[in-house]
């Protein structure tokens, strides 16, 4: 990274070349990925880099990173509840740790530590269980108590004055935040360099299926012939899958977040409270990024609401009373397709050649590298990698769900 910087400084070649190019839509591609977010672009990158499959189109109806990849609160962690989940997200954290070097682009991954607060006995028990599962899977994660919480985060009110006093916390040192746009752009650039076609403003309007096999994709810019299609459209996943006549166990619900005016640096951990439905971190610019749980009813609308803002402000002040004069700069919403067990759905479907990477609910961004990598392997070898076998679509009729609600419902 640094040598590249020095070289750029001396070669006079600025502004830097375009990070990805525009192309005419070809008539045929080996693989078509629907959805130009971090997942779709990561999959395209690993297909090209690790499997030599470069005849790939990534179709994005808006600009790349316009959906969940650019709307999440950029938290990365692996302290989940089920062994399957912990193993999967931990491999993702490991890939994120190497990502700046891998993509030759600074994604600003700051592993500043992640605190999940518990305010009830039930909450403490869940944290204890998560810590045990995490440690068995070799993830740095442990239960800590108010004295240590105070030393890690002095501005937090750990007294017994609040309505929900802090009893303990799950401390996860490798957790942190990242620059999510950089992840999208880095993957896009490296996929583009290897010959992947990124088509922005290209909306999928239909899918062609013959004899139970995918044969083509209809788009707003014309028809594409292909035998392999990956649906990586997150919140819109059901609308794409409906084009081949499959229902998914998903309900699309908005998730809102907001950001405050910049403050002097005071918060160098990520703080999450499941009971208070809030998570908060301070960016390198000093702004506080805050989010809550999903909205109370399903919708594809990305409008923000005052109800959300009132709720989150009250909850943040329970934790940080000193923030009472801080102003909110802006708020936004993204849409999340929630599966019943809070675990993703990845891999094959009853339609031959139609693959899914969906069910990412409120925890998709942190899985981008490993989701892309494992799905690239699945596409290249036609075999499901062991790591994602628990997340197959058929688990619902096999009654083999991966219940992750205790660690994924709020604690991003």
């Amino acid at each position: 990274m640094s040598i590249q910087l020095i070289r750029q400084a001396f070669n006079g070649n600025r502004p830097p070349p375009k990070m990805w190019r525009s192309h005419e839509l070809k008539e045929q591609y080996d693989v078509v990925i629907i959805g130009g977010g971090a997942h779709g672009l990561a999959c395209a990158y690993y297909l090209a880099k690790e499997h030599g499959i470069t005849d790939v189109a990534v179709l994005e109806k808006s600009y790349i990173g316009a959906g969940g990849s650019g709307r999440n609160t950029a938290i990365i962690r692996s302290n989940y509840l089920t062994p399957e989940g912990v193993r999967f997200y931990n491999d993702s954290v490991k890939l994120y740790e190497q990502l700046s070097d891998e993509l030759n682009f600074n994604v600003m991954f700051s592993q500043r530590g992640h605190l999940t607060l518990a305010h009830t006995d039930g909450g403490v028990n869940t944290m204890r269980r998560r810590a045990e599962v995490n440690q068995i899977e070799d993830v740095d994660s442990r239960l800590i108590f108010p004295d240590e919480i105070k030393s890690l985060c002095p501005s937090l009110d750990v007294s017994d004055h609040p309505r929900y006093p802090i009893l303990a916390a799950l401390y996860h040192p490798p957790g942190g935040i990242i620059r999510h746009d950089a992840v999208v752009w880095g993957y896009a650039h490296q996929a583009d360099v290897r010959g992947v076609h990124i088509h922005q403003n290209t909306e999928v309007t239909g899918l062609k299926v013959q004899d139970g096999k995918v044969t083509g994709v209809e788009t707003s810019r014309g028809h594409i012939k292909t035998g392999t299609v990956l649906n990586a459209t997150a919140g819109w996943a059901s609308t794409i899958t409906a084009m081949v006549g499959i229902d998914l166990p998903l309900t699309t619900i908005p998730l809102q977040a907001c950001v405050t005016e910049p403050l002097k640096p005071f918060l160098d951990v990520v703080v999450v409270s499941g009971s208070l439905h809030v998570y908060i971190s301070q960016t390198d610019r000093g702004e506080l990024v805050m989010g809550a749980s999903v909205d109370p009813f399903s919708s594809y609308s990305m409008a923000g609401s005052l109800t959300f803002l009132e709720g989150i402000a009250g909850h943040v002040l329970e934790l940080f009373p000193s923030l009472s004069h801080v102003r909110i700069l802006r708020q936004w919403a993204g849409i999340c397709e929630m599966p019943p067990d809070y675990s993703p759905i990845m891999g094959f479907t009853p339609i031959n050649g139609f693959l899914i990477d969906v069910g990412w609910g409120t925890y998709g961004f942190k899985a981008s590298p490993i989701a892309g990598k494992t799905l690239a392997e699945l596409i290249a070898t036609s075999k499901t990698p062991t790591l994602i076998a628990p997340f197959r679509l058929s688990r619902f009729e096999e009654n083999d769900l991966v219940g992750e609600k205790g660690a994924a419902a709020v604690g991003h």
Partner: protein, 88 residues
């Protein structure tokens, strides 16, 4: 959507209501279902980006469970009515 019309109580703030998910039909003969059909009833959803018929519960009011037709892209409520008055 800030207001929802309860068939009993009229226009009320949406915060008085609890969302009950999209309307689905119960299996007629549950003991005859295969695992796939059970999974279909329990978990699979249409999740449309369009007008959707769905359940609402006026839990901070009269307690009625009723149906609403709402567009899930715009949140525009087309109509609300009691379950008994649905088109069967």
């Amino acid at each position: 959507m800030l207001l929802l019309t309860c068939p009993n109580c009229g226009d009320r703030n949406v915060s008085e209501f609890h969302f009950g998910g999209e309307l689905s039909s119960r299996p007629k003969d549950p003991s005859a279902l295969s695992n796939a059909e059970w999974a279909n009833y329990l978990y699979m959803r249409n999740n449309v980006m369009d007008a959707q018929t769905e359940w609402w519960h006026h839990n901070a009011g009269c307690g009625l469970w009723f149906l609403a037709e709402r567009h899930t892209r715009t949140n525009e409520v087309i109509k609300t009515y009691p379950y008994a008055k649905r088109d069967a």
